[in-house]
Amino acid sequence: MAERGASGSGSSGDSLDKSITLPPDEIFRNLENAKRFAIDIGGSLTKLAYYSTVQHKVARVRSFDYSGKDAEQDHEPPYEISVQEEVTARLHFVKFENTYIEACLDFIKDHLVNTETKVIQATGGGAYKFKDLIEEKLRLRVDKEDVMTCLIKGCNFVLKNIPHEAFVYQKDSDPEFKFQTNHPNIFPYLLVNIGSGVSIVKVETEDRFEWIGGSSIGGGTFWGLGALLTKTKKFDELLHLASKGQHANVDMLVQDVYGGAHQTLGLSGNLIASSFGKSATADREFSKEDMAKSLLHMISNDIGQLACLYAKLHCLDRVYFGGFFIRGHPVTMRTITYSINFFSKGEVQALFLRHEGYLGAIGAFLKGAEQDNPNQYSWGENYAGSSGLMSSSPELCPTQRARSGTFDLLEMDRLERPLVNLPLLLDPSSYVPDTVDLTDDALARKYWLTCFEEALDGVVKRAVASQPGSVDAAERAEKFRQKYWSKLQTLRHQPFAYGTLTVRSLLDTREHCLNEFNFPDPYSKVKQKENGVALKCFPRVIRCLDALGWEERQLALVKGLLAGNVFDWGAKAVSDVLESDPQFGFEEAKMKLQERPWLVDSYSKWLQRLKGPPHKCALIFADNSGIDVILGVFPFVRELLSRGTEVILACNSGPALNDVTYCESLIVAERIAAMDPVVHRLDKGLAVLVRERGADLVVIEGMGRAVHTNYYAALRCESLKLAVIKNSWLAERLGGRLFSVIFKYEVPAE
């Protein structure tokens, strides 16, 4: 990032700093295509939102036209790959100090080219103050939007779209953030916004909310009264003072009133009987730190108590806190959480939001974009373009004090289709896909971060190789390396930066970074080659299987599924083998497999089930391209089909490592159907299909889908989770060895 002006933190800067050098397009990205703006100007921070489109490359696969050609010709890839430009929608949010506002507006004006925008939605207390400046600089009309409406719209938006948006604060845990899995139904909830005063709003639906109460004792009281008491002018400095103080010097505690007897009475002596009760004397001096701490406790406790009273009255147990008093300050999150726990006796949960600071800007943006109906889409946080949550505790992070002088970013991509839960989940509201929470599990975190670091060189190499015709591939790949490396380092120090850290989120972050530098599918070539090879082997594999007796065949099919799953470029143990031994094939993979009994082995139960009536419809989540899907999954599919079971094959919509993508699966299925009359194809939204066809068997294959995630997922129907553990660390953790087999067949309880 380019240089940026140093600045005091937190205070409302009345004088505009014009001399700073703005960080260039690193901050205001994609401005050239920006078409809709919103701005939220608070007491000290400005949040700018805009909608833009991003052009980026996508890898497409396309069947050759086989007419008049011999499709089975050797050395010919099964399909062609083309890289195309695709335009997708992205929401950009930038947060900076009010002191930079003029410089930022100038920058935006200079870079805004293609916009037809005439209006900017503005919210926040400062919107009025800066109205003229914005209109003059951007030549856009300022439309003022109601602060609370924007806040709530923004809150609904992040709660719906960002997994792990909300967290509880646990002061003595490591890390101190505990993220919540998004409940499919976010309503109703209580939003307590602690700005200069406190607003308590009950949110019942997307558009229905009600101000149910408030309090005048809020952030302004802390700041105003704190400034009077300590002569400290800045909010952040007051918090800093408070974090060093001892409130018991100022407050009258229960033990001060009861003496030592509080213990025998079962009272906690440290409870505050009277805030500032000890300061009612003229002959004592009190330290600034102690007074600030006492004030912080007084205000936090009061807000927590009122929030609990309102929550109780309205029968709500989730309370989200926002506003500048909270804004990621561990000190205030800690005292508020304590208060809520104390007053509700644990019945109400104090929740905080990772993107709390952006709620107003998001809401204002959504207000202005209503005709585009952004709420009908699903949006996903782009890990590559977002800054992530930083701990702003001065003790935890000494460099933090400069943070408010920096720019903070959030980017969200519009997803191709809304994400919904699989209808077959037993309890969608309690579904947590990820098996291990790396935020909690420090040992696993360390291992996986190192693992991803070590794999980075290989990914970079693969990325360059995937675009042989590109002149700048090496340069972009290097940028990718730096970006992903720095993300990994951030996560080492702040595992909570993007919500719960999981193997899945590490993979997602890598995909986002690859896409950022236009490597849409680094494994496209590898997959193409492997699909070609596997397709050629398919008829032989089928012939062999068909020659077996029924019971033998069932085991061979399952072994095939497992052996196919060995071919995974994402697993370091395997990619080493594949790199060094190009001849390594399906049969070699079978040899690597663990002998039965497997690490998790319910094969006998599965075989018994197969002797019974056929399943109505099986939903299979396939893993890798090539041998895995073609020689492992398809023969299995074929067997099910011949039993009279319908099969839905579900694949990734976009590329991830060498996972088979939806597009590739279509081509593969088409090619197999051409060879084998048993296979047909269907193309429809998965959830709809699953419901229509009454799926009663779910097969989940591969480490990523069946071990790192979903291992504990309970389904309403029978399920088969199988994987080969291609990672010795994980195998050891699970009590097995490299290439141990997981074969988990489950039947839901009646």
Binding site: W211, G219, T221, A227, L228, V254, V257, S274, A280, L313
Partner: protein
């Protein structure tokens, strides 16, 4: 209320025996113009107190609580016992975080015979307490609250209300020692946190065993009792009509004939909120540490004032709107989206975020804002509790309300306004003394 039942351990009464003969004669303090004793003074040293008679030695011989020895019982005391009546003096003590509240029953129906038999120390206590309105530099008798011609346990007399700061408790205990309280072998019923905190001091310094009582029990008992006896023919309970209007505001008596359910908000240094459903059925709903101690403590820090009275006096002359940020300061008027009136405080002390405004406010403005902040907050919490408990009459008591019409009117107005007339704020003349009264009732075993 008739005579109470007697449930005290007889030993205690019994031990009073020979004390009557040996108690020291404490010279009664002079009249208003006479010699004022430093009864309740900070860091009172015994040197400043007239020495207690030598007989004190003999009196403290058997201290309450150690029930050893076979005490001989005087006739008079036996008489009193037979009548199932607690021995004089009758005190109720409530030792709070800031103030000690003491109620004293002065019997007015003492017969000549009784008078003659009355021990000197008892007499001297009575004279001392009833003939003064101030004790030492900080002890005060709230003469205007005195309940006259009260019948308690078959005795007629006046109930006196006395208060002094808790930090003078050591001086009080010292006085008890000097005045030979232990020789009276009286039971000292005390409530409040200080009953625990100072229990050991009472014992070791004053040779007095405290009978510690639950403060909420006492509070509830006290308020119900005092309401039932009225205020010298007037109503104990009152409310404000047109509280927001300086001209039309009227304090009117309220007949608490249907007291239950009742939300009881006791504002001392901190605040306790109780839901009272019947005489014996109540619960503590919640409490807050933002109470009278917070108002006074912060006023001391912000204005340099030294007494509660001074703080209130300053507040009465200040303008809180210079300190607080009102809804209209932010929205230019009412915030209609949320139905908030422009005059409502949006942020207490919110204007003090600005340096210019900090420099423009007076101490009086700050004191006023502090008063408004604390009072509004208590009102707000009380209102929420009333809603949660489904109670619509709220009685505010506690010494924060003493001579504090601003706070009372504000509570009355805020409760009425925010509840749209559903809640009624009630007040009681004896504000902060209910705990002490409750302790006295416990002493007399009045149910």
């Amino acid at each position: 209320m008739g005579a109470g039942r007697l449930g005290m351990a007889t030993e205690r009464h019994g031990r009073a025996a020979d004390a009557s003969a040996s108690s020291a004669g404490e010279p009664a303090p002079g009249g208003p113009g006479g010699r004022r004793r430093e009864l309740l003074r900070r860091r009172a040293s015994s040197a400043s107190e007239p020495p207690v008679g030598a007989s004190a030695e003999g009196v403290r011989r058997s201290r309450p609580g150690s029930y050893s020895g076979a005490p001989s019982v005087s006739r008079q005391r036996v008489e009193s016992l037979r009548k199932k009546r607690q021995l004089f003096p009758w005190f109720g003590l409530d030792i709070g975080g800031t103030l000690v509240k003491l109620v004293y029953f002065e019997p007015k129906d003492i017969t000549a015979e009784e008078e003659e038999e009355e021990v000197e120390s008892l007499k001297s206590i009575r004279k001392y307490l009833t003939s003064n309105v101030a004790y030492g530099s900080t002890g005060i008798r709230d003469v205007h609250l005195e309940l006259k011609d009260l019948t308690l346990c078959g005795r007629k007399g006046n109930l006196h209300f006395i208060r002094f700061p808790t930090h003078d408790m050591p001086a009080f205990i010292q006085m008890g020692r000097d005045k030979n309280f232990s020789s009276l072998h009286t039971v000292f019923c005390a409530t409040g946190g200080g009953a625990y905190k100072f229990e050991q001091d009472f014992l070791t310094i004053g040779d007095l065993q405290l009978c510690k009582l639950d403060e909420l029990d006492c509070l509830v008992k006290g308020i119900l009792y005092i309401d039932s006896v009225g205020f010298n023919g007037r109503s104990q309970c009152y409310y404000f009509e047109n509280p927001a209007d300086a001209e039309k505001c009227q304090k009117l008596p309220f007949d608490l004939k249907n007291p239950y359910p009742l939300l009881l908000v006791n504002i001392g240094s901190g605040v306790s909120i109780l839901a009272v459903y019947s005489k014996d059925n109540y619960k503590r709903v919640t409490g807050t540490s933002l109470g009278g101690g917070t108002f006074f403590g912060l006023c001391c820090l912000l204005t340099g004032c030294t007494t509660f009275e001074e703080a209130l006096e300053m507040a009465s002359r200040g303008d809180s709107t210079k300190v607080d940020k009102l809804v209209r300061d932010i929205y230019g008027g009412d915030y209609e989206r949320f139905g908030l009136p422009g005059w409502a405080v949006a942020s207490s002390f919110g204007n003090m975020m600005s340096k210019e405004k900090r420099e423009a406010v007076s101490k009086e403005d700050l004191a006023r804002a502090m008063l408004i902040t604390i009072t509004n907050n208590i009102g707000s919490i009380a209102r929420m509790c009333a809603l949660n408990e489904n109670i619509n009459q709220v009685v505010f008591v506690g010494n924060f309300l003493r001579i504090n019409t601003i706070a009372m009117r504000l509570l009355a107005y805020a409760l009425d306004y925010w509840s749209k007339g559903q809640l009624k704020a009630l007040f009681s003349e004896h504000e902060g003394y209910f705990g002490a009264v409750g302790a006295l009732l416990e002493l007399l075993k009045i149910p």
